[in-house]
Symmetry: C2
Subunit: 237 residues, 2 copies
DNA sequence: ACCACAACTTAGTAGCTACTAACTTCTATG
DNA sequence: CATAGAAGTTAGTAGCTACTAAGTTGTGGT
């Protein structure tokens, strides 16, 4: 069941005197999961990164040794202040690179995450800042996600997802998860993208699919998908 | 004397099912040295990559196992046909990336090699081809080096270097080694760049410095530097 | 022709990352 | 509140890359 060896092998850290890309990925994963006060669980990190839980235990010890995470044995890990800073810089890199690839090199919205995932570990800060400057210092990436500043400030506002909306509510799409190109293509096909307006027309019981009206057309969307599209509810109705 | 650990550690190969960045660097190094019929010597590879000769022996065995190089024990390594193809694609990536960074993101001519060195292992073929397209499929990088085609064709013409010119000869600068930003800055300061015209005004005996006239100004240049600037001699004097 | 020295290889070590298998801890359920 | 099963950890293995130290090979100079 486990896929074939996923890590072809080994290669040095990309930027002077720094973390390996692997370690960076863990920090990002922990950041992305650790938004609620709870520490990130070992199994959850493993699932997100597609590796075995045992590997996560090992890496957490290393990251802990480096002062980047604080591990609570048998409970999970939390980023330290330093670790959080590293994660935010990485996310900044990722989102700027995504933005650049989409707007300057015509990359497909749905596929750009994968490319950015690799480049974020190889690009120098100078390159990233030049890209940011070329784009006029954007504050959001193409999926609507806020770009942390180089001082590590981000909009961490918790948004509602479509799954949280009541029937009849209208909302503006703010952002969506970028981690799955299939998913993004699916959304794009419906016209669901940042800035679009959606209305919850109906909702089947027992966490059933949501019926959405987008640009006058009705679509049935599963809860899983609905939960990954974040919106701001409109005041009226 | 040996510098501190140069390889912080380890990270996976960047593009699907492929070589690690390390292995790729060896292939490039061997290609760059193996231009003359002789196999690339272990010590020479080690020196070029800045690693210990023993490490090279090990890697050559691995590359040999992968069918990318052919090793003659105690003599050196030569690329196989496959290995040469990989090296050329890498060089293509490198030079396209350099070109893109310089012309589209305002990178300094002298510093771009380092950035490209990292990105060439992380960028997908799609990204590289999009960059190439954005630049109108350039055939040379900013240092005048020819860019291999995606079919692996390159101009491998051997050029004379300034060190090969006779006193009084005039030549057009075609390209120069890109591996040393100090060196490139030095050249830039003299006005020596691809397309510039230089004249050998004098040459000190015993491999002494060459006196060069560039844009009407005289400069003294050591043989080492002169040997790394490639030119096409002008017909008449 | 020999030998000293340079060039190269082998052996052993280490760090990073990931794996599987086996064991420990935690917790929710009966 | 005892315990089964989930969650997590440890132990042992493996691949990659690099290192040092020590041994081997090859060759140029006398």
């Amino acid at each position: 069941m486990t896929a074939a060896r996923r890590t072809p092998p080994t290669a040095p850290a990309s930027r002077a005197g720094e973390l390996t890309g692997q370690a960076e990925d863990y920090l990002k994963a922990i950041y992305e999961m650790g938004q609620g006060g709870e520490p990130a669980a070992t199994n959850a990190i493993a699932a997100l990164l597609g590796i075995a839980p045992a590997s996560v235990s090992g890496m957490l010890q290393r990251l802990s040794r480096l002062g980047l995470v604080q591990v609570e044995r048998y409970r999970g890990a939390r980023l330290t202040h330093t670790g959080r800073g590293v994660a935010l810089q990485l996310i900044r890199r990722h989102r700027i690179i995504e933005s650049y690839l989409v707007t300057r090199l015509g990359f497909d919205w749905a596929m750009v995450d994968e490319e950015a995932e690799r480049l974020e570990h190889a690009a120098s800060t100078e390159l990233v800042e030049r890209m940011a400057a070329a784009l006029g210092h954007p504050t959001e990436d193409p999926h609507g996600a806020p770009i942390p500043t180089s001082d590590g400030l981000v909009d961490e506002r918790r948004l509602q997802s479509i799954a949280d909306l009541a029937v009849g509510q209208t909302a503006r799409v703010v952002r969506m998860s970028d981690r799955d190109s299939e998913f993004l293509r699916y959304l794009a096909a419906m016209g669901v993208r940042p800035g679009a307006t959606v209305k919850v027309a109906a909702r089947a019981p027992f966490d059933g699919p949501v019926t959405l009206t987008v640009r006058g057309k009705a679509h049935q969307v599963g809860v899983a998908a609905a939960g990954r599209v974040y919106v701001e509810a409109r005041a009226g109705k």
